[in-house]
Amino acid sequence: MNVIDYKCPSCGSGMVFDSDTGTLTCRSCGRQDNIEQTSDPLGQRTASANEVHEYHCTSCGAVIVAEAETAATTCSFCGSAVVLGDRLSGKLAPGLVIPFSISKEKATQAFKKWCRNGLLTPNKFMEANRIKGVTGVYVPFWLYELHNKVDVQGHATKVRTYTRGDYRYTETDHYDIYRRLQLDYVGVPVDASERLNDQLMDRLEPFPYNQLKSFKTPYLAGYVAEKYSYTDEELLPRAKNKIRDYIEESISASVKGYTSTHLTNKQIDTRVKNTDYCLIPVWLFQYNFNRKIYTFAMNGPTCKVVGKPPLSKVKISAWFAGVFGVTLLALELISWSMGGGFL
């Protein structure tokens, strides 16, 4: 049983996850099942990943067209929500999930609103009437808990200057400094999908971890889900890289009060305390504009949109001219008020 679908116990229609109520809902008879209280049909299974290369829809029997990373999709023939069980079990079993909490319609509305807010985007683009596809995707993320022991040593100075008589004195106090910091980062997210742009995913953060739930397959019903392409070990360097700047900032924040600091020795010992495999909801928008396709991603729960929109040359020029004119006028007024004459 590699393909899981959700048949309504009352009427036999396909059920999907409803983001508004957070329940498994039957579109035909309106039955709603609480996901956290029902048993997951995935259960305990031993099938290992990538063994099966062809999946058949349990409703209509058609071959399910799915890419190698897909873990949940809808049957392209009958539209039933299907979950590919073997891609979510064993090593590939997610521990946590943030379920979709806003509907496709609301997400599209939020996206259109974002399009209208662009200051440099062409007016035609702002109308947002060429949205080609809206897909709700559960993107695989690794959430790292990283504990860091940081030891730094260095040299710092405090400088005072004062004048006495005809001389200017510069007095420099030299210090040896030492700091030990404990820096624990929890839930550092790194996207484990090969298909999605890392930079795009980084900008989607932060994700609302208070909506984290333990994983159950019905949350995926009706959405697309992917399995991870990289393991937590493979992505550890990226996670470390992400916290590197935070550590540096914390170090410099701990040596305040000096005129200059020069660190001679820095030791950072990073330990991976825990990693969680988590599915995070992202809305993907395909926008057709001027014969080009633009891809935008929206943080499912927070509606934050990322992605490069087209830029209008006219608007860029207008803004440039406007800022130029206002600045020049302001400088003229300043110069005039200082007694320098107007031009």
Partner: protein, 267 residues
Amino acid sequence: MRRQGALLGLGVILFFLLGHLLLPISFASADAGEKKLIFDKAKLLTEEEYAELNTMANEYAAKRDTDFIILTTNNDLNLDVVLITEKFYDTQAPGYDKPHGNTAILTLDMKNREVYLAGFYKAEKYLDDERLDRIRSKITAEFSEGNYRLGFEKFIKTSYKYMGFEPGVDPDNILFNVGFQVIAALVMGGLVVGIMAARTGGRVTVNRHTYENARTSGVVDREDRFIRTSVTKQKIEKSSSSSGGGGGGGGGTTSGGHSHSGSRGSF
């Protein structure tokens, strides 16, 4: 529509600003009744140069209500250059507004190779000793090299320019420089648009505190050990104002009782 209206308005403002910038200064009417402002007794200028300079001096005079006078002399009587200037003012009674009125005079003593700049009334106020020193330091080199016409022209133009600034402010302040203002405005425009364009793709909204477990994170141990103090001392340079070929000397009062500012130097 509102946006287009605003753009149009901005365009109009820009047009006027640029128009103001590009308007040639010598656009003013060349009146038939030209005053004689160049007194070239040492014959340093050709007929043509003389006519050209005199016209120019008249034009600039009208804009600042001040006569810009150039006086050259072979100084056969070997008088002091300041005295020559004061005598000239008392006897010739120049002035844009009235006899013995607003006047700026450049006197070139070819015998002792000395130059003296003086400002009377409005010019005394707007071209004080310090400003005249600056003008003199800008033009002395031309006289040393024999480019008299150029030196005179520079004197008229620079005096005209400096008189556009209220007394007491630094006329060479970079804020007053139109070129600097235009460049600063261009940089500002580029910066703002650049930041706007960079932000269209979505900003990073997480910082070091987002994932930090505040309860367990922080400075565990610290030590700041004082080692020593080092002291250096530096003599404060007194700014010396004497410039050019051994200049100095300020204003005074003519025997006719007209007070003036001044700057004197050799070339």
